[in-house]
């Protein structure tokens, strides 16, 4: 009997060990490697069984939010602010908001009046473009944004992308102006809203960027005439507000033109924005140029590369990677600065939104319109910011060890 029991217990414990016992070192990495199907190096990091999960979220809060008296006080203060701020905000923005219906319903309601967006969105997006033809700027913007997005994808960085751009720009011109293929002609002083904002910002950035590289290189040139010109241009542009540059471009510049020659108002504003942006970008690019060690120039010289080969193949690829953050900063800034073209009488997205609020029936609900316009700006700026982070990681691959 006793013998039997002993045998039994031995058998049981022997059978139970692999399943029930706490796994030891050599066993565990195998299970991890198998379950994650990762390369073996993953398995060499011993997992902490249950530890991490058990700590969350209270352990995490204790370690990070309440670990010192000061942190505890700050956490409590933050929670208090959230407690007082979030509910009223949520009530106004969402819970008490009016989503459909006329202005009378909005006047009764305690929350935001989002129905103004439903009523006025075409005015906000397309300004004074003829109402029945607004599918044209809609299509043009759609094409433009889609191609901008596609241009950011690495797989599309091929020579044919330039061809696609040329085609799309022509298509956009046809759509916006019309006058061919049975489309009625729409002069560009009727354009407004999102197309103006997008075109002004994208074209000014696209032209300003190469220009800024030339300016930054010129500023470091050994030829005094080029250096003086570049320094003079950059310092002048940086020394005046964008508003006055735009004013100069639209009011003063035509006075210098010979009789009968006119340059389109949109084009003049674009030129003003471009030159202004280029000056700021040039300084960002210069920062990158200065970060390149002297040895890189010497190695390129010693190999017999010419100035432009050295600049294009050695210096700029390294310099521009370093300055992706400040460059994108300038892009974002330039995008938002397009809203200043209102002072020369162009209808960008923000101006069109302002016009939408002047309707007496909907006048009390200007805040909603501005929040909506702000959201549109934010979507584009945030996308640029996220994209730049991805680009930075891609560009700095060579730094990994």
């Amino acid at each position: 009997m006793s013998k039997d029991t002993r045998t039994d217990s031995t058998t049981t414990s022997a059978g139970a060990t692999p399943a029930g016992a706490i796994p030891t070192g050599p066993v565990q990495p195998v299970t991890w490697a198998a379950s994650y199907e990762e390369e073996p190096s993953q398995a060499s990091v011993p997992p902490q069984p249950g530890g991490m999960t058990a700590l969350k979220p209270f352990g995490w809060a204790k370690d990070n939010l309440f670990n010192t008296p000061l942190n505890t006080a700050l956490t409590v203060a933050c929670l208090a602010v959230l407690w007082y701020a979030v509910p009223p905000m949520a009530n106004w923005l969402l819970l008490n908001a009016v989503w459909t219906g006329g202005s009378e319903i909005c006047r009764e309601a305690a929350g935001a009046c989002w129905s103004i967006i439903a009523v006025k969105h075409r005015l906000i997006f397309f300004g004074t473009y003829p109402y029945d033809e607004q599918w044209r700027p809609f299509l043009a913007c759609g094409l433009f944004v889609a191609l901008l997005g596609a241009s950011g994808v690495r797989a599309f960085w091929r020579p044919w992308l330039a061809g696609v751009w040329a085609l799309v720009l022509v298509a956009m011109g046809v759509l916006m102006w019309g006058g061919v293929f049975g489309l009625t002609y729409v002069a560009n002083d009727k354009w407004g809203g999102l197309p103006i904002t997008l075109m002004l910002s994208v074209f000014s950035i696209a032209i300003a960027f190469p220009l800024s590289i030339l300016l930054a290189l010129g500023r470091q040139s050994s030829l005094p005439a080029i250096r003086t010109f570049c320094v003079g241009f950059i310092e002048t542009m940086r020394g005046v507000p964008l508003v006055s540059v735009l004013f100069m471009a639209s009011v003063m510049f035509p006075l210098f033109l010979p009789e009968g020659v006119t340059v389109d108002k949109l084009l003049r504003a674009l030129a003003g924005m471009t030159l202004f942006t280029a000056a700021y970008l040039a300084e960002a690019v210069r920062g990158g140029l200065q970060a390149i060690p002297k040895g890189q120039y010497e190695a390129a010289d010693a190999l017999g590369l010419s100035y432009w080969q050295k600049t294009r193949l050695i210096v700029l690829p390294q310099a521009l990677r370093i300055v992706i953050p400040p460059i994108v900063n300038q892009f974002i800034s330039a995008f938002k600065d397009t809203s200043l073209v209102t002072i020369v009488g162009l209808y960008d997205l923000l101006t069109a939104a302002t016009v939408a609020t002047t309707d007496p029936e909907w006048r009390p609900f200007f805040a909603e319109v501005y929040i909506f316009a702000g959201l549109m700006f934010w979507i584009f700026c945030f996308s640029m910011s996220r994209y730049s982070q991805w680009l930075e990681r891609l560009a700095n691959r060579y730094n990994r060890r």
């Binding site: 890189q296 010693a302 190999l303 017999g304 590369l305 990677r321 060890r401």
Partner: protein
């Protein structure tokens, strides 16, 4: 030295503002000759070899490389830089390019070689400096010794007639010095004309045809390694050798 000099410096002078960096330096180096330049820091040895491929411009005197005189004329500088390869103390590899791209860049753009052709040649040189397996890596992923060997291979890909070495082992950890010196010794054995600024006296004894000693911007003395090390003529040289051989 040899009658048919491939490099000739005649009374070369250079100033950095008021600082007199080179004082009437005259030197003739024959084809296939290996010259080691040594001297205390600030003696002008680096400045001198950097004048040979115009990384620094001399102000007085003449520098003639393989029959072409170095002048302000861009053409003469281009001609000479094609014939002269250089290896730097800090490697100066291009960090954004792979090892193979580092090697092929200049031959493609300066010599107009086909990519496939030069890649084959580049791999041959990488095998000779014993790192063919690192071809697709970036310089930042290599050790100092490996980087310097890539730098030597990069210079060789341009098929230079002269190689300048500016303290090629000074930035290396001691255990990596040998692997670089081995490659340089091998290169010397193949008849390359070499001018080498270095403090590696063992290398100088073993490889150099002549040793040039500089101080305060002048060449104090030069001679075969045997003469130079066993029987230095000037007090200044004896002092220098005393300091450097003690360690």
């Amino acid at each position: 030295m040899t009658e048919n000099a491939i490099i000739e410096l005649r009374k070369v002078g250079k100033w950095y503002n008021s600082y007199h960096a080179l004082r009437d330096v005259s030197l003739k180096i024959g084809k296939g000759e290996k010259v080691v330049v040594c001297g205390p820091s600030g003696s002008g040895k680096s400045t001198m070899i950097r004048c040979i491929n115009r990384l620094e411009a001399h102000q007085t005197g003449h520098i003639i490389v393989d029959g072409t005189e170095l002048t302000d004329d861009v053409k003469s500088v281009e001609t000479i830089r094609r014939k002269v390869g250089m290896v730097f103390q800090n490697f100066n590899l291009f960090p954004h390019l792979t090892v193979l791209q580092n090697l092929t860049l200049a031959p493609i753009w300066v010599r107009g070689m086909a990519k496939s052709e030069i890649e084959e040649i580049a791999m041959m040189y990488l095998r000779r400096v014993r790192i063919p397996d690192q071809a697709q890596k970036f310089p930042g992923q290599l050790s100092g010794g490996q980087q310097q060997r890539v730098a030597i291979a990069r210079a060789l890909c341009m098929k230079p007639e002269i190689m300048l070495f500016d303290e090629p082992t000074s930035a290396l950890d001691p255990e990596m010095v040998k692997e670089v010196l081995d490659v340089m010794t091998e290169l010397a054995g193949e008849g390359m004309t070499m001018v080498c600024v270095t403090h590696e006296m063992g290398f100088a004894r073993q490889v150099a045809d002549s040793v040039v000693f500089m101080a305060e911007g002048s060449i104090i003395e030069s001679g075969t390694p045997a003469e130079f090390f066993e029987n230095p003529k000037s007090e200044r040289t004896r002092q220098f050798l005393g300091q450097i051989l003690e360690h």
